[in-house]
C-alpha cells in the first residue's frame, strides 16, 4: 500500500505517524472497521494526523466517516457545529481544509464545550448512535463497499479539568478500537499514560497508540505551531458565506466579500412562521429582535419528537429585521429546497467576523467608533 505522497510542503508527517496510520489500516478488515479516537493537547497536531489518517484509510475503504467534536476548529463545517461527515475523496493538500456537507449535524452554538458540557456530550452521543445505525451494522455477507465504514473522531485540545472529564465520558461511550494519543514534550500537559479512561479489566479491547508531535527542536522540545484560533474561525465563517455566491464570481479579498454580502438579496421569512431559540442564555421575549439583529444563527429543522435534537442544515446571518412587515432577512448559502424545511432559528455565541461588517461607507451600526477601551 503506497503511502500518500506528501504534496503539502509545510506539513511534515514523521515516520511514526505514517506507521501508526498504516498499522490501523492494515490490521482491520471490512467486517470490523476501525474506529479511531485522536486526542492530545492543543496544537499538538491532532487535526493534521487525522487528515493524514483519513487519506490512508481512503486508500483501502471507499468511504470513511468523520465525527468532528472540536467545535472551535471544525474540519468540514463552519465553527459551532458538531457533525458526522462521510468522506469519499482524498484530501490532496493537507494545509487547505475543505467545506463539505455533513451527513448529520447539530448546532452547538459555541466555540468551546465549556458552556454546556452536557449538551455537548448529548449531541456527540447522538451523532455516534447515528453512525452505528447507518454505517456500521451492514457487515455480514455484503461486499467490501457496503461494509461498515471506519470512523475517525477528532477532539478538541482541552485535556485538563473539565475537558479531561468530557474526553473520558466520550471514550467510555464510543469505546473505540484505537486511541491515538499525541504527546508533547512538556509532560504535564499531556493526557495520562495508557488507557486512562478504562477500569482494569477492559484494556484488551482497545489499542492505544502514543505518538509524539511532529517537530522538535535540537533540545527535543516540541515545536508547536501556534494558531490564531479566532482568526482561523473568522476565515472559516467567511469561506462558508462565500458559498452564497457562484464560484466564478471574482471575490478574492475579504473586503470584496463584505461588499458582496451587503448587496446580496437575502431570504425573507415571516417572523410568525419561524421559531427562535436562544441556546445558551435567556433572552426576554420582547427583546428577542435586539438580540438577533446582525448575528449568526443556526438554521435547524425541528423534529417531530420533542426530545430529539433539531438537525442543523447550516448557518445564516440575520442581516435585518423589519417588524412592520413582520419579516426576517437572512443571508445563507443553504440551497432553497433545503431551506424550506427550516422552521427554527438557533442563536448561540458564534461571533460574526467584524471584517464582514466593515465596509467603507456602509459600516454596520454595531461597529462603533468612540468606544472607550477600558484596558
Amino acid at each position: 500500500m503506497a503511502e500518500t505522497e506528501n504534496s503539502s510542503p509545510e506539513i511534515f508527517i514523521p515516520d511514526e505517524w505514517s506507521k501508526a496510520a498504516e498499522a490501523i489500516t492494515k490490521n482491520s478488515n471490512s467486517s470490523n472497521p476501525p474506529s479511531v479516537f485522536v486526542c492530545g493537547p492543543k496544537n499538538s497536531g491532532k487535526t493534521t494526523f487525522s487528515r493524514h489518517l483519513l487519506n490512508v484509510l481512503l486508500q483501502r475503504y471507499s468511504k470513511v466517516a468523520y465525527l468532528d467534536t472540536d467545535v472551535g476548529q471544525t474540519e468540514f463545517t463552519p465553527p459551532g457545529l458538531l457533525s458526522l461527515t462521510v468522506v469519499d475523496k482524498v484530501t490532496p493538500d493537507l494545509t487547505i481544509p475543505c467545506l463539505k456537507t455533513p451527513d448529520r449535524c447539530f448546532f452547538f452554538g459555541d466555540i468551546s464545550s465549556k458552556r454546556n458540557p452536557t449538551a455537548y456530550l448529548t449531541c456527540i452521543f447522538s451523532l455516534y448512535d447515528h453512525y452505528r445505525k447507518e454505517y456500521y451494522m451492514k457487515c455480514t455477507t455484503d461486499s467490501q463497499d457496503s461494509a461498515g465504514l471506519p470512523l475517525v473522531i477528532n477532539t478538541p485540545g482541552w485535556v485538563k479539568g473539565i475537558g479531561y472529564e468530557i474526553l473520558v465520558d466520550m471514550l467510555k461511550y464510543v469505546s473505540p478500537t484505537h486511541v491515538v494519543k499525541i504527546c508533547i514534550s512538556s509532560k504535564i500537559k499531556n493526557l495520562p499514560a495508557g488507557a486512562f479512561w478504562l477500569d482494569e479489566g477492559n484494556i484488551d479491547k482497545v489499542t492505544v497508540i502514543e505518538i509524539n508531535s511532529a517537530r522538535r527542536d535540537h533540545l527535543k522540545r516540541s515545536l508547536l505551531v501556534h494558531k490564531d484560533s479566532r482568526h482561523l474561525r473568522d476565515l472559516r465563517v467567511m469561506a462558508y458565506f462565500r458559498q452564497c455566491f457562484p464560484s466564478e464570481m471574482n471575490i478574492s479579498t475579504i473586503k470584496e466579500l463584505a461588499r458582496a454580502l451587503a448587496a446580496h438579496p437575502p431570504y425573507e421569512i415571516s417572523i410568525s412562521s419561524i421559531k427562535i431559540k436562544h441556546i445558551h442564555c435567556e433572552v426576554p421575549k420582547t427583546e428577542t429582535f435586539y438580540s438577533l439583529n446582525a448575528t449568526i444563527v443556526g438554521l435547524a429543522v425541528s423534529s417531530g419528537v420533542s426530545d430529539q435534537l433539531p438537525h442543523c442544515v447550516g448557518l445564516g446571518i440575520v442581516r435585518g429585521i423589519d417588524t412592520f412587515k413582520g419579516l426576517l432577512y437572512v443571508i445563507s448559502p443553504v440551497p432553497q429546497q433545503t431551506l424550506e424545511d427550516v422552521d427554527l432559528l438557533l442563536q448561540g455565541f458564534i461571533p460574526i467576523p467584524t471584517c464582514l461588517l466593515q465596509i467603507q461607507g456602509c459600516i454596520s451600526p454595531y461597529l462603533s467608533a468612540n468606544v472607550l477601551s477600558t484596558n
Partner: protein
C-alpha cells in the same frame, strides 16, 4: 456542497481598520441612543426603568460582545434590587437570606476586580494592588476580592457599602467618560447650524424678491443684493465643508434634511408670487450642492412629491369649507411645485446620463455613479399616482423619468396616456358644463384602463428583471423562504433605505400580542403581506388600484362640489345619466358605480 477554503488575500493586516484615527469595535447596541437609555435607566431611581435596563442588558449579553464594565454594573444593580436595604418595596416572599446576598455581592465585586484590573496588568510585573491603584479602584473592593476567594465570606454590611462605592467608581471610570466620548452632540449642532444658514439664505432671498418686485431705492437694493450674495457664498462654503465632514461620519442624510430645504423654498414664494423666476436663486444653490451631494436631488424630488401630495390632501379636505380663492392659491402652489419638480428631474437627467448597462450587472454595487432603476421606478410610480389629470408638468417629468429608465415600451404607454390626458383636459375646457361630469367619467375610464395595463406591465417587468432565480410560480406562492425581490445594499443590521446606501435603523421592539394577531392573518397568506404605510417603496397593484379608485371618487366629488359652489342654476349639472334620465346621485350611490367601473375595467 463542497468547496475549497481558498485563502483570502488579506490575511492578518486588518484586524482593526483605522479610519481617520478611529478604530471600530463590535458593540452589542445598535445606536448610542440605546446605550444612553440603559445608562439613564440604570442610574435612575425607579425600579421599573431599572428593570427594563436589566432586560436590555441580558439581551446584550446574548450577543457576546458586552464590555465587562457594563456587565458588572448590571450585576451589582441587579443584586441591589433584590436587597431590602436599597429597595423598600420588596415583597416578603422575594427576600434572600443574608448569606445569599453577601455571596452575590462578593461574587460581583470579584468579577469587577478581575475583569477590570486583570486586563490592565502584566501578571508578573505588578501586583493587583498596584494595578488597582493605577486605575483608582477603591481599596475596599480589592480587599473584599481577596477575602472572598481565599478566606471567609465578608459580612453583608461591608459588601453593601462596597457595592455603593463600586457603582460610584464605575460611574466615574466608565459611564461618564463614555458619554462624553459619544459624538451625538456634534451632529445635532451641525444640523442646527445648517438650518440656521438655510433660514438666513431664505430671508435674504425673500428680501431680494421684495426689492425686485417693488422698485425701491437702487442703493438699498444693491446693499441687499450684496448681503444676499455674501450670505449665499458663506452658505455654500459652509455646506461644502459640512458635507465633506459628514461623509466620513456617515451622517449625510441627517445633515442635509431636504424637507427643511423645501420648507424654505416654499416659504420663499408664499402668497402673491406666482412667477417661476422665484426659483432661479434657489436653483443655483441646488445645483452647487448637488454637485457635492448627488443624493440631494433624489431627496428633493421625493420631498417635493410629498409636498404635492400633502397639498392635494389639504385641498381635498378643505373643499366645501373655504372659498375658491384659497383653493386657487393652493393649486398655484401645486403648479409651482410641479415646475420645481420638472426642473429637478431635468437636472437629474444631466447628473445621471441614461445608461445601457444591464440591470443585473453591477460590479461595484455601492458606486453611486449609476442611478439604480429601482429608484427611478419608484419615483415614476409616485409621480404618476400623484399627477391629477391635467397637470402637464408632472406628466412631462414622468415621461423624462421613464426615458431615464431606458424602458421603451413603458415610454410608449406613458406617451399614450399623456396624450389621452391632454385630450381630456382639452375636452373639459371646450365642452359645455352640461356633459362635463359624464365625459370626464368616461375619459377616466379609459385612462384607468390604460394605467392599469401599464402598471401590470411594470410589475411584470420588475418580477422578471430582477435577480430572482426562476422558480415555479406555484412554488413561489407556497414557499416560506423567499429571496427578496428587490434589495438595496445597506449595512448589515440596518434595513434598506429608499435612497442611498446608508440604510435606516430598524424598530426592534416587539409585543407578543400583535404577533399573535399577525399569526392569524399570516396563516391565510403565508407569504409576506405589505402592511406598511406610505413610505414603503414596494407598492402592490392592489394599492395602486385603490389609489385610482380614490381618484375617480375624488374627481366626482370635485365635480359635485364645483357644481355646488357655482351658480345655483343647475340644469343638468351634478347629475349622472342613469337609465336615460339625468338623476342627482349621492356619494354613496356613486361608490358602487365606481366599483362597478373597476370591475368592468
Amino acid at each position: 456542497m463542497e468547496s475549497l477554503l481558498l485563502g483570502f488575500k488579506e490575511p492578518q493586516q486588518d484586524d482593526v481598520v483605522e479610519e481617520k484615527s478611529h478604530s471600530f469595535k463590535l458593540v452589542p447596541w445598535i445606536s448610542w441612543e440605546e446605550w444612553n437609555f440603559v445608562k439613564t435607566s440604570f442610574f435612575s431611581s425607579s425600579p421599573d426603568s431599572i428593570n427594563s435596563a436589566l432586560q436590555r442588558i441580558s439581551t446584550w449579553r446574548s450577543r457576546g460582545c458586552i464590555p465587562v464594565v457594563i456587565d458588572v454594573t448590571a450585576s451589582i444593580i441587579e443584586i441591589q434590587q433584590k436587597d431590602p436595604f436599597f429597595r423598600d418595596d420588596l415583597s416578603e416572599g422575594a427576600l434572600q437570606s443574608q448569606e445569599m446576598l453577601s455571596m452575590l455581592y462578593c461574587m460581583a465585586i470579584m468579577r469587577l476586580v478581575n475583569g477590570v484590573v486583570e486586563k490592565t496588568r502584566k501578571k508578573t510585573v505588578i501586583s493587583i494592588g498596584e494595578a488597582a491603584n493605577a486605575i483608582g479602584i477603591p481599596r475596599m473592593l480589592i480587599d473584599i476580592r481577596h477575602e472572598g476567594s481565599h478566606r471567609d465570606l465578608p459580612s453583608l454590611q461591608l459588601v453593601r457599602l462596597a457595592s455603593t462605592k463600586a457603582l460610584d467608581w464605575l460611574k466615574s471610570y466608565y459611564w461618564e467618560p463614555q458619554e462624553k466620548a459619544i459624538p451625538v452632540n456634534q451632529t445635532a449642532n451641525r444640523r442646527k447650524e445648517i438650518k440656521c444658514r438655510l433660514r438666513e439664505l431664505a430671508v435674504s432671498l425673500k428680501a431680494k424678491q421684495i426689492t425686485r418686485s417693488s422698485s425701491l431705492q437702487v442703493k438699498g437694493k444693491r446693499v441687499r443684493q450684496m448681503e444676499h450674495l455674501h450670505g449665499h457664498n458663506k452658505f455654500l462654503f459652509l455646506m461644502a465643508g459640512k458635507t465633506s465632514h459628514c461623509k466620513t461620519t456617515g451622517s449625510k442624510k441627517q445633515a442635509l434634511d431636504s424637507s427643511d430645504f423645501t420648507e424654505h423654498t416654499m416659504e420663499s414664494e408664499i402668497g402673491h408670487e406666482k412667477q417661476q423666476t422665484v426659483y432661479d436663486d434657489w436653483k443655483s444653490v441646488v445645483l452647487k450642492l448637488s454637485n457635492k451631494e448627488p443624493e440631494l436631488l433624489l431627496n428633493l424630488l421625493n420631498a417635493v412629491l410629498e409636498k404635492i401630495e400633502t397639498q392635494e390632501e389639504i385641498m381635498r379636505c378643505k373643499i366645501g369649507e373655504h372659498h375658491n380663492l384659497d383653493n386657487f392659491a393652493k393649486s398655484c402652489q401645486i403648479e409651482l411645485l410641479a415646475y420645481l419638480f420638472e426642473w429637478l428631474v431635468g437636472n437629474l437627467k444631466t447628473v445621471y446620463p441614461v445608461s445601457h448597462k444591464e440591470p443585473t450587472e453591477c460590479e461595484d454595487s455601492l458606486a453611486e455613479s449609476n442611478l439604480p432603476k429601482e429608484t427611478l421606478r419608484r419615483l415614476l410610480r409616485k409621480c404618476l399616482v400623484l399627477s391629477c389629470p391635467g397637470n402637464e408638468k408632472l406628466m412631462d417629468s414622468a415621461l423624462v423619468l421613464a426615458q431615464m429608465t431606458g424602458d421603451s415600451s413603458l415610454l410608449c404607454k406613458l406617451k399614450k396616456m399623456a396624450s389621452l390626458w391632454v385630450s381630456n383636459s382639452n375636452i373639459s375646457k371646450e365642452n359645455s358644463v352640461v356633459s362635463h361630469s359624464v365625459i370626464l367619467l368616461s375619459e377616466q375610464e379609459d385612462s384607468i384602463r390604460q394605467a392599469e395595463e401599464q402598471f401590470k406591465l411594470i410589475r411584470h417587468r420588475q418580477m422578471n428583471g430582477t435577480d430572482v432565480k426562476p422558480t415555479d410560480s406555484n412554488v413561489e406562492v407556497n414557499s416560506r423562504w423567499v429571496v427578496t425581490k428587490s434589495w438595496k445594499p445597506c449595512p448589515i443590521g440596518l434595513l434598506p433605505h429608499n435612497l442611498g446606501f446608508s440604510g435606516r435603523l430598524p424598530v426592534l421592539d416587539c409585543n407578543d400580542k400583535p404577533r399573535e394577531a399577525q399569526k392569524v392573518s399570516d396563516s391565510k397568506a403565508p407569504w409576506e403581506r405589505n402592511q406598511c404605510g406610505k413610505r414603503d417603496a414596494d407598492c402592490p397593484i392592489e394599492e395602486l388600484d385603490s389609489a385610482f379608485i380614490k381618484k375617480v371618487k375624488e374627481n366626482e366629488a370635485v365635480c359635485e362640489s364645483y357644481d355646488k359652489d357655482d351658480t345655483p342654476s343647475e340644469g343638468v349639472m351634478g347629475r349622472l345619466m342613469v337609465d336615460g334620465v339625468w338623476k342627482k346621485v349621492t356619494e354613496e350611490e356613486l361608490l358602487p358605480i365606481a366599483s362597478a367601473i373597476r370591475l368592468l375595467v
